[in-house]
Amino acid sequence: MLTGLAIEGLAVERGARRLFEGVSLTLARGELLTLTGANGAGKTSLLRAVAGFLRPQAGDIRFEGQDAEDARAESLHYLGHQDGLKPARTAWEELCFQAQWCGGTRESAKAAVEALALQPLLDLEIRKLSAGQRRRVALARLIAAPRPLWLLDEPMAPLDAERRSGFGALMAQHLQGSGLILAAAHDPFPVPGRTVQIGASA
């Protein structure tokens, strides 16, 4: 069981350019940490390093309570700028696959449909959804397959005001169930949490 995340002295390079260095932060159960910073500062890169896609140039990423490999295979959700939904498949097919792939079941997928009010969208192909609807389908896997650590990259950008507070409520609920959230965003979340600035103070 994953109980915490500790990053120490992290440095990441992309294309021979050092994006940031000496980034240290900790995240405990029930905590939300928001990453802010200018475009290109390296928020996405940091999230990808935590998810294990990117090998940092220096520093340490420690998962507490579980070794890194298991944590990455079982205990975290990474939801990036791009959602990986396939335009030609229906929302339900995609949600169902994502849920089952991440360790959920068709039932938990249905629960997620309830939680995000996706009922009317299920039979539509992804390419027919509006931007906000599509994002909601992508977010549904966070609920459909419960995993403690959420790595979210600007999850709320295409959502309308009502859905933002709705997803805020889901985030709060996840935190209460002692989940952990590390999220990049340009606008603050409707949930209390700490903020870390990445890159030169912009």
């Binding site: 998810a51 294990g52 896609f53 990474y78 990036g80 791009q82 990986g84 696959f97 089952q100």
Partner: protein
């Protein structure tokens, strides 16, 4: 295991959705059976020998052309991120993708080739051998090709590069398989060629997923 099947179903759905699948086989069948009698004159004996060769050419080209789809889209639309954070290692993902690719490209052509051969007058025993060679060789094409597709991820001229990389990898199955069929028609021993072909395809089936997974991991960074 259940997770693997879920994944495999998705991959099959995606691979068959986009241009592969039964249609490829039908197209091939139609082309070969209408074209060849026209192009090569109506002597059935000559034509019979030709079907397997044409099937091999078509199989190799079809495999080559559809490779780009194997990882590139998932890489560009972020689906690989999801696949990389699942309970199964990327090796299993690569295996599923290879199998899906095979079923959408190799199998239909393999099924069509012997029918075409019989339609052109080949004996039904040689048709069986053609089926076996094309099916097994298609597996080799899908997995060796997958290595090329994975290694070239993120490269500037992806498609062309894949082809350059993959061609030499395609050569052994081509040589083994065509040799087996050729020897069979010529009345020479052919089991050896089929054996090599099977060994090659099984070896790629066993090893290629590791190479693909390593290459995909490298590209995700």
């Amino acid at each position: 295991m259940k997770t693997f099947l879920v994944l495999l179903r998705r991959e099959l759905d995606l691979a068959w959705g986009g241009g592969g699948g039964p249609v490829l086989g039908c197209a091939f069948l139609a082309c070969v059976t209408t074209l060849l009698p026209l192009a090569a004159g109506p002597s059935l004996v000559r034509l019979a020998g030709f079907a397997p060769g044409a099937a091999w050419v078509a199989l190799a080209l079809a495999s080559l052309l559809s490779l780009e789809r194997m990882f590139e889209r998932d890489y560009e639309d972020g689906a690989l991120d999801l696949l990389a954070t699942g309970p199964l290692p990327l090796e299993a993902v690569a295996l599923a993708k290879g199998l899906a690719q095979w079923s959408a490209n190799g199998l239909p052509l393999a099924a069509a080739a012997p029918i075409a051969a019989i339609a052109l007058g080949a004996s039904s025993t040689s048709a069986l051998l053609i089926l076996a060679c094309a099916a097994i060789g298609g597996l080799g094409f899908a997995f060796t090709g997958g290595i090329g597709a994975a290694v070239a991820l993120g490269a500037r001229r992806g498609g062309v590069l894949i082809a350059v990389i993959v061609l030499p990898l395609f050569a052994p199955p081509v040589i083994f398989g065509a040799g087996a069929v050729g020897n069979f028609t010529a009345g020479l021993p052919w089991l050896g060629g089929l054996g090599f072909l099977s060994a090659y395809s099984l070896a790629t089936l066993a090893l290629a997923p590791f190479a693909m997974a390593a290459a995909v991991r490298n590209a995700l960074g």
